[in-house]
């Protein structure tokens, strides 16, 4: 391997060096500073004679006297089933004091695209035990469903609750959920948040079936661009080579995108919206699309990326581009949070696009789709009326309107607010749904099949008459 001492320029996270032989795009690089410290980096651009290198651990301390060594290959992740239970740095090195990783295989972290022809459409219901998700925005195996949150909101609690409770109903019966694994990729989160996760993992014994990648707030920003790729390469290996059902939690995607912006700026690229690179959609898609199922393979990769929306604004490029790629989104809401609703999920803007095929008779329950539809409509109507009530007061509203107002309140307190430690099965969730719907007159349930109304509707005719009488 040839060593160069040819650095010509250092700019932000980038180092430029002259070379006399061709260097491949994305190739790995080691830079050794004069005092013997080794930094790792990656070739971003290679033009005959000059390469641009992005240095993961930051460029501070590097000068023109540093040595540059090209590794002749792209960045690889060391893979083995024994990664389960390990805690690694953001670039895949053990930081738990355990033994070095003895890989069975080393794999390129960029990851090839799954051939759409080879995919299997995800339709296996995952019960998270959270009513707002299971009932209204059902998650399925192989889905990518992000949490859209804001700073200071309990998105981590929600993610942990899902990681703890996630199960597939038939497995519960069979008693075999050993093939479930969690991959946790942290990007730029605070040590405190990291502890929150680690404590929960240790307390619940989840660590044994987890692989943790930690890039903390004070770790190099550039490293964040490789952390999710390391995590996803591991996930694909466990899912498609070792038959695990893998749940990948990536947090916080906002920090990842900031790192992309930083690199873009250092390369003096023409920036896109709000300074983020024009290729951010493609870049994010290359992460999020690494979820799914493949025909003929047992395992699956399910992704729950978490992002904090700057200024709670979902038109900001990070949530916006994410929403355009993922299969829905779960909104964590500031108002609900301040009302003490736990988890504070706002179901109205939330969506699971893979829900329709994952629910119904034989999968969840025959009434699931209709109940969810009707609750959406009713809650939306109640929500609308709240604005009006502020102006004209409850008395000015019709009886029908008042019922919808009550419905909205009950929906939040009875259905959504279940606490972070309650695990509801889908039957329980739907039954609560019927309790709520039964407060509305039967004729209002126009989205529910008549037979289902007959079977489940518990509305009391006498109550209804009483209401119309006064």
């Amino acid at each position: 391997m040839k060593e160069y001492k040819t650095i010509t320029e250092i700019s932000g996270p980038l180092v430029f060096a002259e070379v006399d032989k061709p260097i491949g795009y994305d190739e790995m690089v080691e830079i050794e500073t004069e005092d013997g410290e080794i930094r790792r980096g990656q070739v971003l651009e290679s033009e005959d004679g000059l390469v641009a290198i992005q240095v993961f651990e930051g460029t501070s301390g590097i000068d023109k006297n540093a040595f540059v060594r090209f590794q002749g290959e792209t960045l690889k992740m060391k893979l083995t089933e024994n990664l389960l239970g390990r805690v690694l740095s953001g670039s895949g090195e053990p930081i738990d004091g355990g033994p070095p990783i003895e890989p069975d295989e080393r794999r390129d972290i960029v990851g090839a695209a799954i051939n759409p022809y080879a995919r299997e459409y995800p339709e296996e219901f995952i019960q998270t035990g959270v009513s707002a998700i299971d009932g209204m925005n059902t998650l399925v195996r192989g889905q990518k469903l992000p949490i859209f949150s804001g700073s200071g909101l309990p998105h981590n609690e929600l993610a942990l609750q899902i990681a703890r409770q996630a199960s597939v109903p038939e497995e519960e019966e069979g008693g075999d959920d050993s093939e479930f694994a969690v991959i946790f990729g942290a990007m730029g989160i605070t040590a405190e948040e990291a502890n929150e996760f680690m404590d929960d993992f240790e307390r619940t014994g989840a660590l044994e079936r987890s692989v943790v990648f930690m890039n903390l707030a004070d770790d190099p920003a550039v490293e964040r661009t490789v952390t999710p790729r390391m995590a996803l390469t591991t996930a694909e290996y466990l899912a498609f080579d070792k038959d695990y059902h893998v749940l990948v939690i990536l947090t916080d995607m906002t920090n990842y995108c900031e790192a992309l912006r930083e690199i873009g700026a250092a390369r003096e690229e023409v920036p896109g919206r709000r300074g983020y690179p024009g290729y951010m959609y493609t870049d994010l898609a290359q992460l999020y699309e690494r979820a799914g199922r493949i025909q003929g393979r047992e395992g699956s990769v399910t992704q729950i990326p978490i992002l904090t929306m700057p200024g709670d604004d979902d038109t900001h490029p990070i949530p916006d581009l994410t929403g355009y790629i993922t299969e829905g989104q779960i909104y964590v809401d500031r108002d609900l949070n301040s009302q003490g609703v736990q988890p504070p999920v706002n179901v109205l803007p939330s969506l699971s696009r893979l829900m329709d095929d994952g629910i119904g008779e034989g999968l969840t329950r025959e009434d699931h789709a209709d109940v969810s539809d009707q609750m959406y409509a009713a809650y939306a109507e109640g929500e609308d009326l709240r604005d009006l009530v502020n102006i004209v007061g409850r008395e000015a509203l019709s009886d029908r309107d008042n019922k919808y107002l009550d419905f909205a309140d009950e929906f939040e307190s009875g259905f959504v607010d279940q606490g972070f430690n309650t695990n509801r099965d889908i039957g329980e969730t739907l039954d609560i749904g019927w309790d709520l719907l039964s407060t509305l007159p039967e004729a209002e349930l126009n989205r529910i099949d008549e037979e289902l109304i007959e079977k489940y509707y518990g509305g009391d005719e006498s109550v209804e008459e009483e209401a119309t009488a006064d």
Partner: protein, 585 residues
């Protein structure tokens, strides 16, 4: 993509690599030539020539590719293979069949450097001649037919750039697409397979004013904002508002002969869904599997960006080919914004001067060139064929003022604006009835009046007026509450609510409701209008509005959509509504 007999010209050497953009020196090439890049032979296309430097966009990932590696020129532009076998196939953006790639790569993941012809070169097809020896044929003429799928008879055409001539030999029977089936006196040999460069429109005669609707089976579209066969439409909307579901509904239920569905930079699972569903679902016209009339092009968001740029051209060229056979083709592109972004990404790597929001200055020109390839045409062989193009647009932040939406709106004649608010309250399809429009409405009215009901336009106008009035009343309601309105206005609100819930809303996931024929669309409207007319009579006779809106029959209006035997249901319902209301006075 074709692997045609290629005259290899001078090879070059890679000079630099930056993502999908590679420059080469010493390459003797023309603009848009297809080249093979690097030791692995990755497919690319020449997009700029400056002095000795040739710039190439590469249709595959370039990690690990470095300067010094060779570049080989095929000397041919990017073409598609056309012939039997295009239907019932799923391609990537450069027309490589994804099933063949999976087999050749022996992997569920897309590897690099593997090419495959767009149509199976070994398969034999039953060719039935349509001409005889001694006949004179010209470019575009049909020389024979092949049963391509259970639904579609493939017409074998004299290639558009042929000089034509007299038929001197003709075959009948089983042949591969590369075998000669017809020979002309000029020595030209006609095969079932032909090639066409994707960036060039196939020749056609004049465009005609479309007068026939492309029926969509969707009430809000057929009823309020119809598109013509040969028309263009845009579906802009923020994420999750229903662009893909709408496009898939059109692919499933529209009365086109052929459907070309392009997944351009969108999700893998969405394409998988189509691949799994379409072979199972029946074509509403023939009852055959939908796939038998469909070609899919899937260049998902994580597949190479340059192939995303080319996938819309691959799709529209295939559409033109079937148009030339005299078919009505519907093309959906989901999403044209991703295509525009691919242009932007490549343009910025070329360091071109950016236009608005970083998009290249030629964005508007490319969009209009693309939509211009739609239309209702007189074909060069004397038949008529059409291409209807429906493009999804994904505006950043859902803001329609951005360049792709705006430039698209200048071209297309149908605007189906999706609305996040409607989607949020699960009003689907979330097509906003105030913002959307169709410039085809008037020119299609005669068709609907003749084929559905002679008061089609009139009844629709009533619906439009009622919805408009509701919009105005809602603003007042927001301030004072509904009960403060006079009774007739309260009644209008109630009627409008049924228009929204029973007519405009349509559940794509309900077995019956998912498709609504024009007759049903019309009848639902007349049922609601019956209620309207009877209710106003009752009101005039002094019946309080609460009593009118409380009759038993009304909730049944919202269940019409899911009725299979809708005529009987609605007849009874209309009678019941009238009877119950008249009982009140």
């Amino acid at each position: 993509m074709s692997q045609a007999d290629t005259t290899v010209r001078e090879d070059g050497i890679i000079d630099s690599v930056s993502g999908p953009v590679v420059t080469a020196v010493d390459l003797d090439a023309r603009m848009n030539d297809v080249v093979y890049v690097g030791d692995e032979g990755l497919m690319g296309e020449v997009i700029e020539i400056e002095g000795d430097i040739t710039t190439i966009q590469v249709y595959e990932e370039t990690s690990g590719v470095g300067p010094g590696e060779p570049v080989e020129n095929t000397g041919d532009p990017l073409t598609v293979d056309l012939g039997p076998g295009v239907l019932d196939t799923i391609y990537d953006g450069v027309q490589r069949p994804l099933d063949v790639l999976q087999e050749k790569m022996n992997s569920a993941f897309l590897d690099r450097g593997v090419d495959a012809p767009g149509i199976d070169l070994e398969k034999e097809w039953e060719f039935t001649p349509e001409v005889e020896e001694g006949d004179t044929v010209e470019a575009g003429d049909v020389v024979g037919t092949v049963p391509e799928t259970v639904t579609i008879e493939h017409k074998v055409l004299v290639p558009p750039n042929s000089e034509g001539g007299e038929v001197v030999a003709i075959e009948a029977g089983e042949f591969t697409v590369e075998e000669t089936v017809v020979e002309l006196d000029s020595g030209e040999e006609i095969r079932m397979r032909q090639e066409w460069p994707v960036r060039e429109a196939r020749p056609a005669g004049d465009k005609k004013t479309p007068t026939e609707p492309l029926l969509t089976g969707q009430r809000v579209q057929d009823g309020l904002f119809p598109i013509a066969k040969g028309g263009t439409a845009a579906i802009p909307g923020p994420f999750g508002s229903g662009k893909t579901v709408t496009q898939q509904q059109l692919a499933k239920w529209s009365d086109a002969d052929i459907v070309v569905y392009i997944g351009c930079g969108e999700r893998g699972n969405e394409m998988t869904e189509v691949i799994e569903d379409f072979p199972e679902l029946p074509d509403p016209q023939t009852g055959n599997p939908l796939m038998a009339r469909t070609t899919l092009i899937a260049n998902t968001s994580n597949m190479p960006v340059a192939a995303r740029e080319s996938c819309v051209y691959t799709g529209i060229t295939i559409a033109e080919y079937y148009r030339d056979m005299g078919y009505d083709v519907a093309l959906m592109a989901d999403s044209t914004s991703r295509w525009a972004e691919a242009m932007r990404e490549i343009s910025s790597r070329l360091e071109e001067m950016p236009g608005e929001e970083g998009y290249p200055a030629y964005l508007a020109a490319r969009l209009s060139q693309f939509y211009e390839r739609a239309g209702y045409f007189d074909n060069i062989n004397g038949t008529e064929g059409s291409i209807s193009v429906v493009g999804a647009v994904s505006p950043p932040g859902g803001d329609f003022s951005e360049p792709v939406t705006q430039n698209t709106l200048r071209i297309v004649k149908c605007f189906w604006a999706l609305d996040a608010d409607l989607a949020e309250r699960r009003h689907f399809p979330s097509i906003n009835w105030n913002e959307s429009y169709s410039l085809y409405r008037e020119q299609l009215d005669p068709w609907f009046e003749e084929n559905v009901a002679d008061d089609w336009a009139e009844v629709r106008q009533w619906a439009v007026d009622t919805l408009d009035e509701e919009g105005e009343l809602q603003e007042i309601v927001q301030l004072v509450g509904k009960d403060a309105l006079p009774e007739d206005q309260q009644l209008t609100l109630e009627v409008a609510r049924y228009l929204r819930e029973a007519w405009l809303q349509q559940n794509a996931f309900h077995d019956v409701d998912t498709y609504c024929e024009p007759d049903k669309t019309y009848l639902i409207l007349t049922t609601i209008k019956t209620f309207n007319d009877e209710a106003f009579d009752a009101l005039e006779a002094g019946v309080p509005v609460e009593e009118i809106t409380d009759i038993d029959a009304l909730p049944r209006i919202n269940r019409i959509g899911v009725q299979e035997d809708y005529e009987a249901y609605m007849d009874e319902l209309k009678d019941d509504i009238a009877a119950q209301l008249r009982e009140l006075y």
